[in-house]
Amino acid sequence: MANKAALLPVAWRIFKRDWRRKDLLILLFSMVVAMASISVIYLVIDRIESATEREVADVLGADVVILSPREIDSKWLQIADDLNLVKATSVEFASVLFANEKLQLSTIKAVSDGYPLRGRLEISDEPYQETRNLNTNPPQGTLWLEPRLFSVLELEKGNLVEVGYTDLQVDGAIMLQPGQGSTLFNIAPTAIINIDDLEATKIIQPGSRVNFRYLFTGESEALSEFIEQVKPQLASSQRVLTIFDESPVAGSAITRSKKYIGLSSLLTLILLGVAIAMSAGRYARRQFDMSALMRCFGLSNKQVLTIFSYILVFVCVFGILFGGLVGIVFQEFLITFLSQWITAELPKADYSVLLIPTAATAVLLMGFSIPSLVQVKNVPPMRVLRRQLEPMSVGTLSIYLLSAATLVLIMWVQMQDFKLLASVLLGLVFVAIIFACIARFMLWLLKRGAITRSAAVNFSLRQLDANKGITLLHLLAFSITIFVIALMILVRTELLGKWQQSLGENIPNHFMVNVKPNEVTEIKSFFNANQLEVVELYPMIRGRIVGINGEDVKTAVPAEGQSHNSLRRELNITWSTELPEGNDMVSGEWGWPENPSEPLISIEEETAIALGLDVGDSIDFTIGSESWSAKIASVRSIDWQTFTPNFYIIANPGALEQFSATYISSFRMEKSDKDLLAQLVKKYPSITVIELDRIFEEVQSIIAKVSAAVELIMTFVVAAGLALLWAAMEHTFDNKYKQSAILRTLGATKPFIARSFRFEYLWLALLSSSMAVVAVELITYLLYRFIFEIEFEFHFQLWALLPASTLLLMLIASWNGVRRVTSPSPMSLIRPS
């Protein structure tokens, strides 16, 4: 009795045979790529992502922060405790510090034990000296000060500073603190004290303006749970900050890389699915004889199905083993080689996550090879007597739907982004339809071109047209694959390029604020003398919006705008004749009339939208203690990713004459020139220099990581594309074999046949790559515009590069194949083996 176990050795024998015959190579390769790519996502990319997110958290000082003007409900802290979150508090307020009979208004942060929960707090004994990295609050009775306070108050370490009703001893200078990037424009320098000294200062009285920052870290599920519970209970004056609200550069790098990775893994799986379906179909066709023979030996079609299912299982097991291995190798590689430039430690690898890729890979194989499997099972046994008999085509829509459903299921599990999934699938179908139409037209054109002097050329052109259906299929397979590969390489290059640019060579890496008007010329000459380039010095005035068109903001602004940032704090106002770099006009035109009758301003777009403002409206500000009104003349958008001073409000020169401004600028300074900073600050004690380069280091490390993730995933898209190209290539050989034998009997020479076949590949390559180029341009335009939000430009280099490389690839790939199919003697027709 042939029970299922008895069939196993037979299946194993056939598997070994097909392995030797390289029939299963593409299938196996596709499986390895599938398994490897999904494993890498789980083993490596997920870890890179969480590491980068943690690094952004470093900038925030925590994973989640609750901002509140008063102490928050203790219930919330209880929730945090229940969720095992780690907490710290920072109470922030403005107060005057006294020392050496001098005073300075400062921002005081009274921080609790454990502050900051994430990120670095760098303290040095004296300003701009060597720093130590701390993760705690200053000892009780001491405080840390920003460098500017050292010069203004003429302090040294160990001096006493009067803070409210108590004296605290200077313990060090704050060189880097979490969130330094976002506190850029705080005019008042920061001092950090221990929260236990807060009461003694007696500064906080009922009614004082205080900001409470509650910092939390913990497991990501616990954090989301926490946010979910707390968010609905927030008062309008309270806010929850997460990592994406902070560092815009890193935040957008992470979001974009996530989108890229999602898109890539989706395309990888689609390409692999098609490659698997194609090579499984080819494999099945080569098994028809075997299947019929086994039926003669007395196997039922169920048993035949069992045998071929076993073979698939073998393929699956090997694919998963090899692919998993590749994933693990990548992961080890990452640990040993990349760890040098990835500063924050990666979370530990957890090999149990390999279960998910294993399941997904198995489902992918089964889903896409079942139609072929069913065909093998349905081979009529009469085929042993009549070769031409083929299984009835599995005209079962349901089976193809099954494959499609498989794909969607895997995607769904993997990315849970239905919008992206749907748009990519629809996009591909759309591209396929367009391609099919263009290809038909091109074939028609080519056929008309079959009047050249070369018989091989004419023959190849006629051949393409004669097998229209198959040619179309191959054209589609090639062009879509080339399209996907080109697209993903291109997007990657541009993403990486943009990121590099935002951290580029000549980007300013220091800010200088609080420059007095009478210091402007001197500072310019200081920079010139030291051969440092200083960007424009912008005057800056800070004002609060209090009214719109004469009406109080509280009533003039719609409810959803009430909580907008621009109403919570003072805005930076400047005046300028030039439109600053990175600014684009949205409505109205840039420029000022001469001597306008009233002050005119240009406002930042998002603020305008949030407050429901447009050109022609007027805004009432409070500047200092005075009021000032201006009319909106234009609306601008600002690229927040440039590290140059950005202003919400720009007024016409002269409009703010009555107010005294301070000046702000950004400049680039290399590490080796840092000594100059100390000089500068000594000479102009009121100036604050913000060392963005320290923040850049963090952003750079984040970008290095997301870039690595993007590179890694792109490798797999390319590998998947190659798998599909390979499968399609093999497919083209199938009927060439017989064709070649027939041609030989008709007297064609081997070189002639080989040449005409190579011409066919030439046409295929040129046609498919040029269609791919058109599609790439179209889709990148859409992608850049709507998903990645970067600017579109034509990629002229592609127009030559893509056809050339496709041609090269195809000729190389087909070289051996063409030799193989032209080699058999015409005898093979007469005497089937």
């Binding site: 008895a6 075997m290 030996f297 007395g298 009469m382 089937p832």
Partner: protein
């Protein structure tokens, strides 16, 4: 042992219906050999397919050991093939990429036979290929390939062996040797043999013969006894 009763096969081709086989009846007892003779296109292969239960008839039936095979389910028919039938084909149908030995072992393994290797080796030795066990199909000549195929057919000791023009792809001398081999094994194992051929000389070696033309029996030495039909 093998009985065909009013076998007919019609296929639809577009609008019209084509009769490939019409009212074929015969009876063959155990250990005998039958030649099915006829020109190309006369319906020989079709008849053989029906006798093997590989295809189903439009009318009539086939009995093997008194059991009507088309009353069986597809699965039971497969089981019956496994137990009773062996095949030899014009185009050999060796499995490419497997050695001679592996080819012969295949039907035994499918039956779950533990002594597959031993039996296959013996049978290959018997057909004179003891030295070529590990050669692949494409390393053998046509005659050798067909001998492997015969070894494969006889190794399960089938009660009924069906051969469709087994010498059709071979030269006359080799063909003769192949037929002799088949007959000697037939005798040794007491197998019932059905041989399709268009070669009259080969047909003469068989105990019985049927001649087909245009799907009809035009000459037969195995005329059905009336009683057998009634009992069938």
């Amino acid at each position: 042992m093998l009985t065909a009763i009013k076998l007919g096969k019609r296929v639809k081709t577009g609008e019209s219906e084509l009769t490939i086989l019409d009212d074929v009846s015969f009876q063959l007892s155990k250990g005998k050999s039958l030649a099915i003779i006829g020109e190309s296109g006369s319906g020989k292969t079709t008849l053989l397919g029906l006798l093997a239960g590989l295809d189903s008839p439009s009318s009539g039936e086939v009995q093997l050991n008194g059991q009507s095979i088309f009353s069986l389910s597809e699965e039971q028919r497969a089981e019956s093939r496994k137990e009773n039938l062996g095949f030899v084909f014009q185009s050999f149908q060796l499995i490419e990429g497997l050695t001679a030995l592996e080819n012969v072992m295949m039907p035994l393994e499918l039956k779950g036979d533990r002594k597959a290797k031993q039996k296959a080796t013996e049978m290959l030795t018997k057909v004179g290929l003891g030295e070529r066990l590990n050669h692949y199909a494409n390393q053998l000549s046509g005659g050798e390939q067909q001998r492997v195929a015969i070894a494969r057919a006889f190794v399960t000791e089938p009660a009924l062996l069906l051969a469709d023009e087994p010498t059709g792809n071979l030269d006359t001398a080799t063909g003769k040797k192949i037929i002799e081999l088949m007959f000697s094994l037939n005798q040794e194992l007491n197998t019932t043999l059905v041989l399709v051929t268009h070669d009259i000389h080969l047909a003469e070696l068989c105990d019985e013969s049927i001649t087909l033309s245009g799907g009809k029996v035009i000459e037969s030495s195995v005329q059905m006894e009336q009683g057998a039909v009634a009992n069938g």
